[in-house]
Symmetry: D2
Subunit: 308 residues, 4 copies
């Protein structure tokens, strides 16, 4: 069963295949030029830093709904181990087992395929169990540093958090940009705040996960028109679920990752950033959100930081 | 068997316990003020970014020498999985098991104890298998962004890499600072390049690991005198091994982590940064090296980025 | 706070320390002699085999109540991988991460300590994170094959399963032995059926886990008097919880593992065995329940089989 | 490139597809009837038990040659944890991450496919990353208990171990059967000893793994003619590598697992069994080698035991 015509029409309008060459593996991150980063550094005023990652622990946000989404399972392998004999300096070491998409993360471009195809027209079956993502694995992304822009949709609407069925529209994004006094431009990393993670931070991981507000299928064109480099939200599913077009699940994922070649961030904690931006009346900042270079991975935990 | 008097004499001179209060859990990172970060952002000239993490994969740098240091073991749990039915948008997910100290990482302050004691005088036995690091776990570090300074000791000496038995001394650091035209100051994160990781990048992980050049037991006083916030190197052991004082293993670890409360970074890839700094004739830059917030962990993988 | 006098009185009566030498690490499994095994093989009549392990999968019986009890997390690392070239024979491989006590398992003698002491008077602190169980780890048990006896307490009482607060008493064991026409003797492995796992098999893992019927603090003396080699049940906590003596948690664990040196089995599926024994009117059989030899481990998954 | 004609000719002669019905998922284990097990129990004379599993630990036999073959990585998650308060009974728990094929194991029937096909003609693509082995996963095998027969090829030839390039032929098996005074029959589990694991037990894991003696491509017909239920060896590759027919890698795997539907065991420790059988002059015994029921897995660790 092919995807509906409506999807393909949008896809055609936002498609970036070949835009940065047939060999390109990083998509819209090509838009983050040295000049963009220079300008981003220039936005720093106060030097205030806001971390955007959720804590990583076994009682994390995954509820078991998605079987492979294992919360971080952390164990000690050494505790005050005097490896050089009694009374010597002692060391403690640890390990973790976790889903790369368990908590605050980036989807790599290969996290999603449709119609047997990945970003830049590569065949989906180039992902294999033993080889993982041969192309566009998260390790192919050298760095993610750019101007970050917070589009605080919830705050712009004067609510603590959007209703769970709220599809964030292009109009909502315009409204939030206006509220923040920012113009989204080429190479920007846009953080869309719904306030949904307040549920998680209040301890209700089930309510946080589903149902959730999320991006409308109409937003990829908005991002595309502005040459946005990446988008992240404070929700688990990123986009509105159930979907707006009957039977078309995960269209925003497919448009961003496959058609545009644009990374998505999920489960970002934007609460402190909302407070900071509000206090400083500035919604643009330097953002560093480096991927851990897992070779061939379709995602990565990330510990983003905004520098205001 | 207590540690030798020589250690305690240095310890007394660099000790920071109580300096930021009895409840402090982050040590010298207190020195990274908003003003320091503002100034760090001001160092950005070209916008060039250099990533400093080694790739994460099963054929990583760990050789089995340290049993708990498991290289990242990455598996796919979904590949192009059409969870909403045939022909729908498909997803790929993955997981990893790894030692937090396996590759490019920060040691948390709790990575080392001596004489039964952790940073700020806390008892070492507050680390437990089930609770992990109750105090000063890596999750207690909110953010690591500051001015980075590359002390390119190898390049300053005109060699590709230091000899394996070379203990990097305060004089070496002075020489490299002069070579780079930088003055190390309060809140700086100092990256000490030995060139040792060239062996690793050339494929010889055994030669890379041991023997290795490393920091001399005399350097903690140098860092302390300048109120450095953190130090990282391009070696596995960080400090010179075997040690300079007979029978005193890991003294630099103990001085930095326990006495000073200063984070250490290991296995950082400083090769591209050396090239970039050389090309731009600037050895100071904005550095973001955010820890992944593993709750109670004694270390964390990190994907640092220098912005020049 | 020391354990209550009542505990120590029982402990004194069942203590086996030194009984098999000061160096002994396997406790009551010493009672399984060649002669016992010969006789056990002689109990085989029909050749019918009944497996007693629960399936191992991510949706296992652990509910997250005990943080370290990770359900088996199983991933494929190769799928039909043609490692010798296209069209060659292809292989599929997999890995697992799991708590050794997650499902059907044996507790090793070191799973429990009390008053700082393990079985045979060894100090509890001989268990370390890096070295694990130096003494009495599960790998020290060479084999577990003996006569198995099903004490079908639920069936003897004519109920599907015991009430959740039911403490299984020595009288209950006598009743079940009489019902089954068996005399428990030296070297036997006793399987105590409560019927509790019916809840799990019906899909209610929460009801299965707690509250649960379990062995009374009075039963260790019953097992001791008969020189039983090991005991297993079809419950998660093994013994009755909350405990019968106020404030004395896990007394049966402490008496069996520490005082007697007797292995315990938990989460065994005894439903099919109950049916088989009922049909064949025989409650004694050959039992093989080999531990996986994890070096230094305090437990092991086990796939027991009864041969009738 | 299709497999050579020679392979297909043998395959035709040993094929068991449909023999136990189109729905069958366990293959030659159907040959282990109650009568076979009764007879197997009747072989027990001395009651002597011999365990056949190698120890499970991080310094296991895998050398990194096969990337996914992770040695067991075992960590403690609780150590003497007084969960009910100071002075109460304390517990220790642990976890493991390991390849299911890392040490002593059974290959499930799905471990190998050829020409896109699994045992009983099922499509190889029924194995998926999220669903694993839908058919013939190791959990479909209810139990493995039968008569075991040791064919001590090395001892029959009067050598400590076979030369590394030695392909074990049908004639070798006949010779070993005659040496042991046994006739291999329907439902038997045959253990073929080469002595290769002496290298491993002496500490040389590299020499153990490759090159190695192993079963000839001519042996599947020998096992088929006798209706053997399963075969295990004391080697890593099981069959002779490099292969006897140019370019035909893993033919024995494909014949056993795909064509015959017969489980294979690898890395079994047959040294003590060789000694015991020699001492008792009996090479047939009761064998229990229960799979751990990992749902959908293509293999399982196993702790086999022979009862003489």
């Amino acid at each position: 069963m092919p995807l509906p015509r409506e999807f393909h029409e949008i896809a055609e309008r936002v498609n970036n295949w070949g835009r940065w060459g047939d060999d390109d593996e990083i998509g819209t991150l090509n838009l983050v030029t040295d000049a963009v980063v220079r300008a981003a550094a220039g936005t720093v005023r106060s030097g205030r830093r806001v971390a955007l990652a959720l804590p990583l622990h076994q009682d994390g946000l995954q509820t078991g709904l998605v079987p492979g989404r294992l919360n971080p399972f952390h164990t000690m392998v050494q505790i005050n181990y005097e490896m050089f004999g009694p009374g010597t300096v002692a060391t403690s070491d640890d390990t973790v087992t976790m889903a790369l998409q368990a908590a605050t993360h980036w989807d790599a471009l290969t996290h999603v395929s449709h119609s047997g195809t990945l970003y830049n027209g590569r065949p989906a079956d180039t992902i294999t169990p033993h080889g993982r993502s041969r192309f566009s694995g998260i390790d192919k992304i050298p760095h993610i540093v750019s101007r970050g822009v917070l589009l605080d949709v919830a705050r712009a609407k004067g609510v603590e958090r959007l209703a769970s069925g709220h599809a964030v529209t292009p109009e909502d994004l315009d409204e939030a940009a206006e509220f923040g006094g920012v113009t989204v431009g080429a190479g920007d990393i846009v953080l869309v705040r719904t306030g949904q993670s307040r549920l998680l931070l209040a301890g209700d991981k089930h309510a946080y996960g589903f149902p959730s507000p999320g991006l409308s299928v109409r937003t990829p064109e908005w991002f595309h028109a502005r040459d946005v480099a990446a988008v992240a939200t404070d929700t688990l599913p990123f986009e509105i679920i159930p979907p707006e077009i009957d039977g078309l699940w995960l269209p925003v994922h497919a448009l961003h990752l496959v058609e545009m070649g644009m990374l998505q961030g999920q489960n970002w904690n934007l609460e402190n950033l909302s407070t900071a931006c509000g206090e400083e009346s500035r919604y643009a900042f330097l953002l560093s959100a480096m991927p851990e270079p897992f070779v061939g991975a379709t995602g990565t935990p990330v510990a983003p930081v905004a520098v205001l």
